[in-house]
């Protein structure tokens, strides 16, 4: 698994609430059997003026000049500043795959949808939840200052603004540990293989109808 420690990066806005995973990566791109190559299609429907197709070369597609990530000042952004309930809707992990492939490694928002939030940690992306008023303030500072960048430090759980202001954020200890160290969480769970086996034995005795499934 990819790790995340400290990130200093340019911030770009996704200034709308309830950004759903269909918007992050539309369904036609989900036909891929690969984990990579989704970056060019990130936010496809609002980023381009035409309808994108999987495998398409996006170099010459007409871009939506109004869309933030197309604006020169946000080129090379590593941090996405977003609104409430970011990542709602479908469970598609293609959403964080597309963000990561595009170069976004951190998303700051007042709240995230559960499944998306969880999927981020599996892909080296840190979702940071901050109070709505703080997110408002960051949006304002970003809009007012071209080249606005933030430092996000996972080990100290702090976001530092260009003026040196630090804002702390909460993160689950286990997720933090895995993300900091880029741990393979399947390997970690398999360290508990004995516990799983003994649970399974007990559960099989208690609920035998859940095992040795044979249909008729």
């Amino acid at each position: 698994m990819k790790s995340f420690t400290v990130l200093e990066g340019l911030v770009a806005p996704m200034d709308r609430a309830n950004v759903d995973t269909d918007l992050i990566i539309p369904k036609q791109f989900l036909k891929s059997i690969k984990r990579s190559g989704f970056g060019p299609y990130l936010f496809d429907e609002v980023r381009y003026m035409d309808q994108g197709e999987p495998g398409q070369d996006c170099t010459h597609r007409p871009r939506n000049p109004e869309f933030a990530l197309n604006k020169p000042r946000y080129q090379g952004a590593r941090i996405l500043l977003a609104r409430e309930n970011f990542g709602c809707g479908s469970s598609r992990e293609h959403a964080p795959w597309a963000l990561e492939d595009f170069g976004i490694h951190c998303i700051i928002a007042p709240s995230f949808a559960d499944i998306f939030y969880n999927n981020c940690f599996k892909n080296g992306i840190l979702p940071v939840e901050l109070a709505p008023a703080v997110v408002d303030q960051l949006f304002q500072e970003m809009y007012e200052n071209e080249g606005y960048s933030l430092v996000v430090d996972l080990s100290s759980q702090r976001v530092e603004t260009p003026t040196g202001e630090t804002i702390s954020f909460a993160v689950d200890e286990f997720r933090k540990h895995c993300l900091l160290n880029g741990l393979d969480d399947i390997g970690l769970t398999l360290n508990s293989a004995d516990a799983i086996r003994s649970y399974e034995q007990k559960w099989r005795k208690q609920s035998p109808w859940l095992f040795d499934v044979v249909g008729v």
Partner: protein, 472 residues
């Protein structure tokens, strides 16, 4: 000490290892697999040289990409016209063969939408923990199972370990008492709930649905409600086990039999929240107050009764909501002050894991029987949720009713709910859809979705615009 909620009982019974801060390693009884979110998980297993922990806990079925037109469908996987879709379905077949996972293949009569097939086959049972790489896995909670959607990394994790590392959720109770008016269905109830609490209202919560209205619902209706728990932000939706649940499960192909059945029923009878259980949040609605619902915007929370008037964003106090409503109206091509009943439809879609079960098809057929689809409606599709449902509907003559009324009768699959196959909306088209999401572009680039119940969709097909099915 207070009693336990149903969610807490399921959590407790599946806890392999307790960890800090209310998290733990949870055992998973079933993993349901489809073609879209599994290929990268199988690839991960191969790369790490890992085997599935328990092969017989996995069931697979292709649903998202499958064509629903008979001429394309009859050729099986090889007949799928889109080469990318074909490869994805073929990859599922190959992976299931290599790892010896039971799969209902594309033209197996048991094939269908994974969330329809699971309960129908008895692959989903009360008291289970169930995962699938699909957010609408919450559907299975209607049987008193803790069922949730996960990402592909976790699909691989469950394949390899039969477990998930999880944070315990908070408990929310949505209680709907009273009775529903004639023509008002489970779909209207859940849309009304989402309208009430919003699409983020259930974040970090498991929502249990209860009350007289929910108790009186059939299993089909209960599945519709739990299906859309995720649209209220809750990964897990739950309904307590009762006689209706047990009657439904009895005799299903993969359900226990004989002595095991009796033993299972005793255990399943405990699957309800205790009277003194504590819920972090309780929402109460009256069944009588719920009218048929129609969404007008691009989020399921943008919903109104059929006799409603589209709101004026300028009158909204919250800046975020105002901005979102403005944007939604622009995308939908609608204006504030317009009556819901004045929205003209181009397409009607009856199907999806929300509303493609036999009861849904019966309700839609009853509305269109002896009538014709309006000349202004370009297309009206009926896509049954599974091969079994299709067969049953045909035995009941529902297919003929639809065809005579001018609706198309299709092969089972996810179809236009998310338009991964060739069933898509054109740009600017308004669709009365029995599916679950009205997001921008969800049913096709530039498509405009209005979420409704099957009866409402059928009535809209005949009228060409939304009408109140209570007066049908």
């Amino acid at each position: 000490m207070s009693g336990k909620t149903l969610y807490e009982k399921l959590w407790q019974s599946h806890l392999v290892e307790e960890r800090d801060n209310d998290s733990g390693l949870i055992y998973i009884d079933r993993q349901l697999i489809h073609e879209v979110t599994s290929p990268q998980a199988f690839e991960g297993l191969r790369l790490a040289n890992r085997q599935p922990w328990r092969v017989d806990a996995n069931f697979a079925v292709p649903d998202h990409n499958v064509p629903t037109e008979l001429h394309e469908r009859s050729g099986g996987v090889a007949g799928i016209a889109d080469p990318i879709s074909r490869l994805q379905v073929q990859t599922l077949d190959d992976n299931c063969r290599d790892f010896q996972i039971l799969e209902f293949q594309i033209n197996d009569v048991r094939q269908g939408i994974v969330h329809v097939v699971g309960p129908e086959q008895g692959v989903t049972l009360p008291g289970m923990t169930i995962v699938c790489g699909d957010s609408h896995t919450s559907t299975h909670g209607a049987l008193g199972a803790m069922a949730q959607g996960i990402g592909t990394s976790e699909v691989e994790h469950v394949m390899a370990t039969q477990c998930l590392v999880q944070q315990k959720m908070k408990n929310m109770l949505v209680r709907v008492d009273g009775t529903l008016q004639t023509g008002v269905t489970a779909k209207d109830v859940v849309l009304a709930v989402i309208g009430e609490i919003g699409t983020a209202g259930g974040n970090n919560h498991a929502i249990e649905f209860g009350g007289e209205v929910v108790r009186a619902l059939s299993m089909e209706g209960r599945m519709t409600i739990c299906n859309m728990a995720i649209e209220a932000g809750a990964r897990v939706g739950l309904i307590a086990v009762d006689d209706t649940t047990i009657e439904y499960v009895k005799g299903r192909p993969f359900a226990p039999r004989g002595e095991l059945w009796d033993q299972a029923v005793v255990a399943w009878r405990e699957l309800h929240s205790d009277d003194d259980a504590h819920f972090d949040r309780v929402i109460e609605l009256r069944g009588e107050d719920i009218a048929p619902q129609v969404t007008w915007g691009t989020s399921p929370e943008m919903v109104l009764p059929v006799d409603g008037i589209i709101p004026d964003p300028q009158l909204m106090e919250n800046a975020g909501k105002r901005h979102a409503a403005d944007r939604a109206l622009e995308y939908m091509g609608l204006k504030a002050g317009m009556a819901i009943s004045d929205i003209q439809l181009d397409t009607v879609f009856i199907g999806s894991c929300t509303n493609s079960r036999i009861e849904d098809l019966r309700a839609a057929a009853a509305v269109v029987k002896g009538k014709k689809v309006a000349s202004t409606v370009k297309r009206a599709l009926v896509v049954p949720g599974s091969g079994q449902i299709k067969k049953q509907a045909e035995e009941e003559g529902l297919d003929k009713i639809f065809i005579e009324a001018g609706l198309e009768w299709r092969e089972p699959g996810c179809s236009m709910c998310l338009a991964m196959n060739s069933d898509k909306l054109g740009a600017g088209e308004h669709c009365a859809s029995t599916s679950n999401r009205n997001f921008e572009g969800r049913q096709g680039f530039g498509g405009r979705t209005h979420l409704v119940s099957p009866a409402m969709a059928a009535a809209a097909a005949v009228a060409g615009h939304f009408v109140d099915v209570r007066n049908w």
